[in-house]
Structure formats: structure tokens, C-alpha cells
């Protein structure tokens, strides 16, 4: 470790925030770009499975809440791309990497939303897992990232409550069919949600260095355990069954024992073989390509305006 690196690590160890113009190791910068970029991409791809139900939301109020949520997600994308930009990479560069498959987004969004209870379940489990990840990241060492996370966490917990509220209505006040929808949604989203914390620590590639740099605070397994412990009683309250025959309270560890998700499926989906990978990327790339004329039009106008202002200045002189 060089002198510069040691000073850097000391600052992190003391709990100081690293700011954009300060020196940082290339690896730190690269890891952050990967992580923040992936998170930003997840927000914008994440619009798609929820957006899928906006036109079919069952009441005007639910429609409004869902619209507000999807709008927030796009907003989170915006904060995160801005945070990434402070590391010297533009939003367009990051999007190009997403579109050509060199950057990923959270694999959970490769699963389809098939009934209205999925919208509740995505809020409850997916946002729930995301928050679990993000709460720790509020303390992350990179200043702009930490500040983005503080802002995002506030909105996400609101989303999670709204998602759970959908399920409360369907399970506690709804018809038998509605409760079946909720159980079906839980069955499909349970394991993919557990996967959101990443592979077990022993198989996780980047974890040790990221934790040293405080780009990451907790281990994948710690977060997953916390998530399960928080979620099981919520499922019980809804009267739903977690689709895991091995799920059991373990008094000794003060938490639940539970089955690992199928990690083969996890890597399969990451590598493109999920239910919706092709559709999601196609939707994003199509949106980008079909919108080229729009972005170019705005840029051309801005240039014309600059030229006009310059000409007016010259004329005035």
C-alpha cells in the first residue's frame, strides 16, 4: 500500500467522507462507478415491471400512488447518475454500457409482474430488501453516494409501506381470490428477493475490499438474515405462507433458519436467462433509440439559442 493509499484508508477508518475532487485509488473509483451505476440502472429498469400495471391499477388512488412511486424511482435514477458523474463518468456513458450489456441492473427486475398483488409484493419485498441494502449505504465513505442514499432511503421506506398496504387490503379485507393472488405473488418473489443481497459471503468476489473501503458496510449474509427476520412476521400477519418448508425460528441465533435460494438460477438470470431479461433490455434500448431525435432536437435548439445570444451580443457591442 502506497503512502497515499494509507492516508486514504486512514481517513476512511476515521469515518471521514471522501469528496469528488479528492484523491482516491483507481479501484475505489471503479468499484463505486460499477456499484452506483448498477444501482442507477436498476432504478430505471425497475420502472418497467411496475409500470406494467399502471394502466390496470384497480382504483384511482392506487393508480396515483403507483404513478408517484414510479416517478420517485426515475428520480432516484437521476440522483444516482449524478453521484456517478462526480466520479468522472457521464450518464450517457453509463447508459451506453447498460445498452450494450456491459453493465448490469438488479436481477429482480427480470421477473415479471403477473397480477396486482405483485405490485404490493414488489413494494413489500423488493423495496424492503433494497432498503436493507441502502440503509447501510447511508454510512458509505463516498460523500455524494452517502447523501444520495439518505435521500433515497426516506422515499423507499414510504414505498415499502404502500406496497405492504396493498397486501393488507387484499389479504385482510379482500376476497378469497385476492388472497390467492397475494400468495401466488409471494411464492414467485420470495427467493428472487433473497437473491437481491447477492451470493453468500464466501462466494462473493468484491466483498472484502469493498468493506474495507466502506463502500459496503454489512455482509450479504448479515443483510439477508435481517431481511428474513423482519419479513416472516409480516407474512404471518397477512396470513400468507413463506414458500420454504425449512423456515424455522432458531432461538439460539435469535433469527430464522431458512433455505438458500437456488444460486444456479441467480447466475442464470444474471447471465441473461431470466424470464424478462430480453424484454427489459429491448424496452430500454428501444426507448433510447426511438428518442434520439428528441434529444438531438433539444441539443440543436440549445446551440441555436447560444449562437443567437452570441450574435446579439456582437450586434450590441
Amino acid at each position: 500500500m502506497s503512502e497515499q493509499e494509507r492516508v486514504f484508508q486512514d481517513r476512511i477508518d476515521r469515518g471521514e467522507k471522501i469528496e469528488p475532487k479528492e484523491w482516491m485509488p483507481e479501484g475505489y473509483r471503479k468499484t463505486l462507478i460499477r456499484q452506483i451505476g448498477q444501482h442507477a440502472h436498476s432504478e430505471i429498469v425497475g420502472q418497467l415491471p411496475e409500470g406494467n400495471w399502471i394502466t390496470r391499477a384497480p382504483t384511482l388512488e392506487r393508480k396515483a400512488i403507483l404513478l408517484a412511486k414510479v416517478q420517485d424511482e426515475a428520480g432516484h435514477g437521476l440522483y444516482l447518475y449524478s453521484a456517478a458523474e462526480t466520479l468522472g463518468v457521464s450518464r450517457d456513458e453509463l447508459l451506453a454500457l447498460l445498452h450494450n450489456g456491459k453493465m448490469k441492473y438488479s436481477s429482480i427486475f427480470n421477473y415479471p409482474t403477473l397480477n396486482w398483488a405483485d405490485i404490493g409484493t414488489v413494494g413489500w419485498l423488493v423495496d424492503g430488501a433494497a432498503i436493507m441494502n441502502q440503509v447501510q449505504l447511508q454510512k458509505t465513505s463516498y460523500g455524494p453516494y452517502s447523501r444520495a442514499m439518505i435521500r433515497i432511503c426516506k422515499e423507499e421506506s414510504f414505498h415499502q409501506r404502500q406496497g405492504y398496504d396493498i397486501l393488507l387490503k387484499m389479504c385482510l379485507q379482500g376476497t378469497h381470490e385476492q388472497k390467492e393472488m397475494a400468495q401466488d405473488a409471494l411464492n414467485r418473489f420470495w427467493y428472487p428477493s433473497l437473491m437481491m443481497f447477492g451470493p453468500s459471503d464466501k462466494d462473493s468476489v468484491h466483498s472484502a475490499q469493498s468493506m474495507q473501503w466502506k463502500i459496503k458496510i454489512n455482509t450479504n449474509d448479515e443483510l439477508r438474515q435481517k431481511f428474513v427476520d423482519q419479513t416472516v412476521p409480516q407474512a404471518e400477519y397477512l396470513g400468507l405462507t413463506i414458500p420454504d418448508p425449512n423456515l424455522k425460528w432458531n432461538e439460539a441465533k435469535g433469527g430464522y433458519d431458512f433455505s438458500e435460494p437456488d444460486w444456479n438460477e441467480f447466475f442464470d438470470v444474471i447471465n441473461g436467462n431470466g424470464p424478462c431479461n430480453v424484454e427489459r433490455m429491448e424496452a430500454r434500448v428501444t426507448a433510447w433509440e426511438d428518442g434520439a431525435w428528441f434529444r438531438e432536437g433539444l441539443m440543436a435548439h440549445a446551440k441555436k439559442q447560444d449562437a443567437r445570444r452570441a450574435a446579439a451580443r456582437v450586434a450590441a457591442e
Binding site: P58, T286, R295
Partner: protein, 258 residues
């Protein structure tokens, strides 16, 4: 305030309120179809926000419509349990999204009218109408400003963006006339001082549109033919498909709680 204080045919008043609500509902639906598919993240946000405002306005107008009707129909019941022939929105708002330029142009043409209407409605003889209008006017003023700006920048942008915006204006133009056509329903609410005469909004709308199109370097179409029918429940073939999606859950699961 009891409706009885205003001398107006309740059926006509109900119909007229449905027009306001259905315009917002159907346009909100169309706009929301873009979620996650727009050309740039800022537009994803702006469009979701526009749809959100429109759905909020739908709740207010249809809520009042149900109150005026007095048969216990809520805004949700009106939105989810009427078929196309009972919808009263103008044809403009149900036009397919087309490319992004057509979506923006439709919004601009509608907002320019909506703004004039809401401005006038703030002086309605029914304070409930005036109150909703005041709230909605704030939102719509922002939409209109944003859209006028976008239309100008895209009209006076590249060759391609100008061509697309001109085409958008041309194809949507024949759907704007209906906004200003009055019928017996309009006459009833106008007579009761609830609403301005539709045709009285035309001059200001013409002015706004002419100014923005001039700055956008776009030409106003010369054709005089104008579609009509939506305000009386005669729609285009598009509305049935919109409602099939929108109403699916309420239709398929009667008695559900959401």
C-alpha cells in the same frame, strides 16, 4: 353547499362534470403508457408527474359528478364501471400516443385549452367547481409552460424534430375543434353560471397556439374539418381498448377491496 342552490338540470350538470373528469382520466391513462419508455429520464419523471396530476384531477371531478348525480356512485365507480358510450371525454385525449412528438403536441394543445377553462371556472357559480379549478389550475399552468417550451425547442430544433412536430400538429389538429363546440349540456351549465361557453375560450387558445407555433417555426394547418362525438359518447375505436385494460380488475373481481 347544496347543489339545489344552483338552478341547473342535474343530468346535464353530471354529464358536464364527467366530461371534465373523463378528459383527465383518459389523457392520464395515455400519458402513463410512457412510463419507463420515454426518450430521457427527465421526461419519464415529468410524464409520470403529469399523469399523476391528471389522475388527481379525475378524482376530484368524478367525485363531484357522483355527488351531483346523487346515486351513490363514487369517482372509482364512474371510472371503472362505465363502458365507452358513457364516457364523455373529447376525442383528442384518446388519440394513440404516436411518437413522443405527438404525445407532447397532444398535451400542449389540450393544456392550452385546459388552462383557459380552469381560469374561467375559478369564477364558477358553484364554489365546489371553483375550488377544484383553482387547485388544478396551478398544476396545469406548470404543464402548459413546460409543454410550450418543449414544442418550441423541438419545432425549432433539427430538421427531423421540426418535421415530426409539424406532423404531430397536422394529425391532431382535426381533434381540437371539439373542445370549443357547445351542445345542450354546455348550454345548461353556461346558463347556470357554472361554466364559460366553450366557444368563449377559443380566442385565447388560438392566441396561445399561434404564438407558440410561430416561435416553434411550425405552420398552423389550414384544413377546417373537425371531428366531434366524444362529448356525446361517440368515441373512436381506441377508447374501448383503453377501458379493457383500465377496468380489467374491477370487472373481473367484482366486490374486491383494493
Amino acid at each position: 353547499m347544496a347543489t339545489a342552490d344552483i338552478a341547473v338540470d342535474q343530468a346535464a350538470y353530471f354529464d358536464w362534470l364527467c366530461r371534465l373528469g373523463d378528459n383527465c382520466l383518459v389523457l392520464g391513462h395515455r400519458v402513463s403508457e410512457w412510463c419507463g419508455h420515454s426518450p430521457v429520464l427527465e421526461e419519464d419523471i415529468a410524464l409520470a408527474n403529469t399523469a399523476l396530476d391528471l389522475i388527481g384531477q379525475t378524482q376530484l371531478w368524478l367525485g363531484l359528478a357522483g355527488e351531483v348525480e346523487g346515486k351513490g356512485r363514487t369517482a372509482d365507480k364512474l371510472a371503472y364501471l362505465r363502458d365507452a358510450a358513457q364516457f364523455r371525454n373529447v376525442l383528442l385525449v384518446e388519440r394513440p400516443n404516436g411518437d413522443f412528438g405527438q404525445t407532447l403536441m397532444r398535451q400542449f394543445l389540450f393544456d392550452a385549452w385546459h388552462m383557459e377553462l380552469l381560469r374561467a371556472l375559478q369564477k364558477s357559480s358553484d364554489p365546489r367547481v371553483a375550488e377544484i379549478a383553482a387547485k388544478a389550475a396551478k398544476e396545469v399552468a406548470y404543464h402548459l409552460e413546460r409543454l410550450a417550451d418543449l414544442v418550441i425547442r423541438l419545432g425549432d430544433g433539427t430538421e427531423e424534430s421540426r418535421a415530426r412536430m409539424q406532423k404531430a400538429l397536422n394529425v391532431l389538429w382535426p381533434y381540437t375543434g371539439e373542445l370549443f363546440m357547445a351542445d345542450a349540456v354546455d348550454q345548461a351549465v353556461v346558463a347556470a353560471g357554472i361554466a364559460p361557453a366553450p366557444e368563449s375560450l377559443k380566442a385565447a387558445w388560438d392566441r396561445t397556439v399561434a404564438e407558440v407555433m410561430a416561435e416553434a417555426t411550425l405552420s398552423l394547418p389550414e384544413g377546417t374539418f373537425q371531428h366531434r362525438g366524444g362529448k356525446a359518447g361517440r368515441h373512436t375505436e381506441a377508447l374501448g381498448f383503453i377501458l379493457a385494460d383500465m377496468q380489467f380488475l374491477q370487472r373481473a373481481y367484482p366486490g374486491g377491496t383494493w
